[in-house]
């Protein structure tokens, strides 16, 4: 395979996924906030709440179109750029994407039209139900996507089948109730709610600072402050759950994001600063808080969190067992009735992926030297600096947002938010924070999964399609230009409607 086509495919997928994820969190959060606002309208009958639903709905609509149009290329890219991945794990992964379409995407996409066009055609209650269905649809959609992603991080409920040369489903229940997937789902949708809340908070603050649409903005801000505070708190609690599940499965990811080269005495400390040096396997200028990591990761005081160096020793052992599985697989392929080889393969198939790591360095996997095994083991350490810092930035921004929403909530409940200029300015400049935090989180989760596409099963460098780098260059450049134009248009339109304000926009 052409290596650079693979690298370009990675770049393309990473870019288009991160781009898509600029719009999804806002959809997740704003859809629920629209449903809340409209519920207040239906319960109180005050038309200002209907106007709020309609105005934020216009911005929601622009964002939703961007989300839809950038989501489709992600599904298609598994086939176009990651053909071997699709062939190898489509049995499990593909079914999750299909169910997402069937159960969730249909729901949101069908009702979004009625949300906009149904105001005069439906009863109050009827329209309210439509709005809630859009919100549930988009959140169900996130559920299935994160079950699929959770399976990439922690591939449960499946087994390698030598007759079809791929992974096959053994328990749908295990895949669906994968603890990693569940933790990821709640963490991610909460982050989406924070994004929606910040969006409404900042724009309302902008109106209040200019003393425009004051009644409208005050109410919107109260909704944003309370919804945002609850969401920001749950992001942290559920992020902790996410950390705990990572420590159970992806121990290398945990050690890498902590730049923890050695295994420390239990309970391990948490580094809040440091400059990781991957080559020499040490961290310079490290500042540690004792105990914290051990307690978060193991929820005990006496269990150790393994460091990178110890994990590497373990990995070498798994590569060796993997080679046995690989040998057995070759025998089964030569003679499919060889029961002994099937037994060996079956016993060691969970390490088969580790043998595949060697293919990066040699075609002769069965006779790999100890030196190559060591090299292959080393290739399982992701980029420590990226993980270390993306994690810390994400947490810092998360904590700041909790503080901001807490202040907002306090001021709103005292009816003082609208004339506290310092707070309003803070609220405006904080607008990009949820997006930055989310992209850091995405980088941590997905870059931290490297060098695997399916953790411990399928290495990334084997997952691609047999395509040329010229082909990928063509589509990559097309994506970059197309997406840049779209982003500009999106921002122009958003600004136009925000400037116009609710009165003009709704007349």
């Amino acid at each position: 395979m052409d290596v650079s086509a693979l690298d370009l495919s990675r770049l393309q997928f990473g870019m288009t996924a991160m781009y898509h994820f600029l719009f999804v969190p806002l959809t997740l959060g704003l859809s629920f906030m629209l449903a809340i606002m409209e519920s207040v309208y239906v319960m109180t009958g005050k038309t200002i709440w209907r106007d709020m639903t309609k105005f934020w709905g216009i911005l929601f609509g622009i964002n939703f179109a961007m989300g839809v149009c950038t989501g489709v290329p992600l599904e298609f890219q598994f086939g176009t750029n990651w053909a071997y991945y699709s062939q190898y794990v489509g049995d499990i992964f593909g079914s999750l994407l299909a169910i997402e379409g069937l159960m969730a995407f249909f729901l949101e996409a069908t009702f979004i039209g009625l949300f906009f066009f149904g105001w005069n055609k439906l009863s109050k209650i009827g329209h309210l139900i439509v709005t809630w269905l859009v919100a549930f649809g988009s959140n169900f959609s996130a559920l299935w996507i994160l079950v699929a992603n959770g399976w990439m991080q922690n591939p449960v409920g499946s087994k390698f089948n030598p007759d079809t040369m791929r992974m096959e489903l053994t328990s749908f229940y295990d895949v669906l109730f994968n603890p990693v997937a569940q933790a990821k789902f709640v963490h991610t949708v909460s982050a989406g709610y924070v994004t929606g809340a910040m969006f409404v908070l900042s724009i309302s603050a902008y109106y209040l600072l200019r003393k425009k649409h004051v009644e409208f903005a005050k109410r919107s801000m109260t909704v944003a402050a309370s919804f945002g505070l609850a969401a920001a708190l749950s992001v942290v609690v559920l992020g902790d759950e996410s950390g705990y599940t990572v420590s159970q499965g992806q121990r290398m990811k945990l050690a890498a994001m902590e730049a923890m080269w050695e295994t420390h005495e239990a309970p391990a400390g948490l580094a809040i600063f440091g400059i990781p040096d991957q080559e020499n396997m040490k961290t310079d200028y490290e500042v540690m808080i004792p105990w914290v990591l051990g307690i978060i990761a193991t929820r005990t005081f006496d269990q150790k969190v393994p460091g990178i160096k110890d994990l590497l020793v373990e990995t070498q052992q798994r590569i060796k067992t993997g080679i046995q599985a690989y040998e057995a697989l070759q025998q089964v392929r030569a003679d499919s009735t060889n029961a002994e080889a099937r037994r060996i393969l079956n016993e060691n198939s969970k390490d088969l992926g580790y043998a595949l790591l060697l293919k990066r360095f040699t075609d002769d996997v069965e006779n790999a030297s100890d030196e190559l095994i060591e090299k292959a083991a080393l290739s399982t350490v992701p980029n420590v600096t990226i993980l270390f810092w993306s994690f810390r930035l994400m947490v810092a921004m998360g904590l700041f947002m909790i503080g901001l929403f807490a202040v907002a909530f306090y001021l709103c409940s005292r009816h003082r938010a609208h004339n506290n200029k310092t707070f309003l300015r803070f609220a405006i400049v904080s607008l990009p924070l949820p997006w930055l935090a989310i992209e850091c989180g995405w980088l941590l989760a997905e870059h931290g999964r490297q060098p695997w596409t399916i953790d411990q099963i399928l290495p990334t460098f084997l997952s691609g399609s047999s395509i040329t780098s010229g082909q990928v260059w063509t589509t990559l450049i097309a994506f970059i230009s197309f997406y840049t134009i779209l982003l500009i248009v999106d921002i122009i339109l958003m600004k136009k409607y925000i400037k116009m304000g609710p009165k003009k926009a709704l007349s």
Binding site: M66, C69, I99, L102, I112, R333, V489
Partner: protein, 378 residues
């Protein structure tokens, strides 16, 4: 759990149903966009045309996404080989498709005529190009596509983009465009009035006759001079999904075997031609709902004919015929097919019910008055 053979057959049929769902529902969206420059001249007319599909195109587009998802889930090998093999063509279709959401949403948000013209053109391209590409891709299935597997079942596509554009597939591409335009024109006849409706009816009649003609032409061509594929080794219909352990031969006329064994199946293409003529007639007699249904049946019959002729092949290989993907050796595991079937049986009826409800709420003509009343109109 159900029998593996039966599950494979069910998923073959379900794949067909999803493709037909896409062609019928998203088909009229694409067709309306394709007809945009011909049936509407002024800005108000254009807005009326766009607003006929405005509230429903998002839901309709999910049929495409679900179709892709179903191929990925039920026929992963087909997904891997076709999407990576047709790389540039797929992306071309993709860009054309994803320009529509923003086109609809952005077009009328600025009053500038150049801005609106730009998006009208973009929507036209977004309507025509996907139909053309899907048709060309379908046409290539009959000819076979140059690909093979290595021993790890990694697929290699050895052709290029322009090799896909030979006469027969191109003819299929034009047929696909006509099908979508037929859906679009009958839908517009149903949803609009006065000038736009008159133009749609006029175009619709011509398009339906052309559809019948091209469909017949494709059939004759297929029968007379295209080499089909046939499995000549023993078939284990419940065997493991490994597409490299059978033998396949090529012969002219083989694509008609199925029809020859079961002459009843000739009814399907016959229905397609009949319904295309009926659509023209019904448009003439101003029965617009019937015309739309009749056009949808035409679409159904044409796609069903293609599927039946190819059976049991999904994607034949022209360079390594024995590596061709078939219903019996390119599916997911028995358990996945079963789980997916359960999910489909639960959710597809629900989807159909609420989709029908949405169309009921939105019934009625789209006119200048209705779009002026609606603040959210496109």
């Amino acid at each position: 759990m159900l029998d593996y053979e039966l599950l494979r057959l069910i998923w073959w049929a379900l794949l067909g149903i999803l493709l037909i769902g896409f062609a019928v529902l998203d088909g009229f969206d694409l067709g309306v966009a394709g007809l945009l420059p011909f049936v509407s001249k002024t800005d108000v007319e254009r807005r009326i045309v766009l607003n006929t599909v405005g509230p429903v195109w998002e839901g309709n587009q999910v049929w495409l996404i679900l179709g892709g998802g179903a191929i990925f889930a039920a026929w992963p090998a087909l997904y891997a080989v076709s999407f990576s093999g047709f790389y540039l063509a797929i992306f071309l279709a993709l860009f054309a498709i994803i320009i529509r959401p923003v086109g609809f949403k952005f077009r009328s948000k600025m009053p500038n005529p150049q801005w609106r013209n730009f998006w009208d053109n973009a929507l036209f391209v977004g309507g025509i190009v996907p139909a053309l590409i899907f048709g060309v891709a379908f046409g290539n299935l009959f000819l076979g596509v140059p690909f093979h597997f290595n021993e790890e079942l990694r697929s290699f596509y050895t052709g290029g983009f322009f090799e896909l554009l030979t006469p027969f597939p191109l003819l299929c591409g034009v047929l696909a465009i006509l099908m979508m335009l037929l859906q679009g024109s009958t839908f517009l006849a149903l949803k609009t009035e006065k000038k736009i409706q008159q133009r749609s009816v006029a175009y619709g009649q011509v398009i339906s006759l052309l559809t019948a003609l091209l469909f017949t032409l494709c059939g004759v061509w297929l029968w007379s001079s295209i080499e089909g594929y046939a499995i000549i080794s023993e078939i284990n219909t419940a065997g493991p999904s490994n597409p490299v352990i059978k033998e396949v031969s090529r012969q002219t006329g083989t694509w008609m075997t199925w029809h020859q064994i079961h002459p009843m199946t000739y009814a399907v293409p016959a229905l397609g031609i009949f319904m295309a003529f009926m659509t023209a007639l019904l448009l003439r007699t101003r029965c617009h709902t019937c015309a739309f249904l009749s056009s949808s049946l035409t679409t159904f019959s044409i796609i069903a004919t293609a599927g039946l002729s190819l059976f049991p092949f999904l994607l034949p290989s022209s360079t390594h015929p024995s590596h061709s993907l078939t219903v019996w050796d390119a599916s997911s595991s028995q358990m996945t097919l079963f789980v997916m079937l359960i999910a489909t049986l639960i959710f597809l009826p629900i989807v159909l019910v609420y989709t029908a409800w949405v169309y009921r709420v939105l019934r009625g003509k789209v006119t200048e008055k209705t779009i002026k009343k609606e603040t959210n109109a496109y």
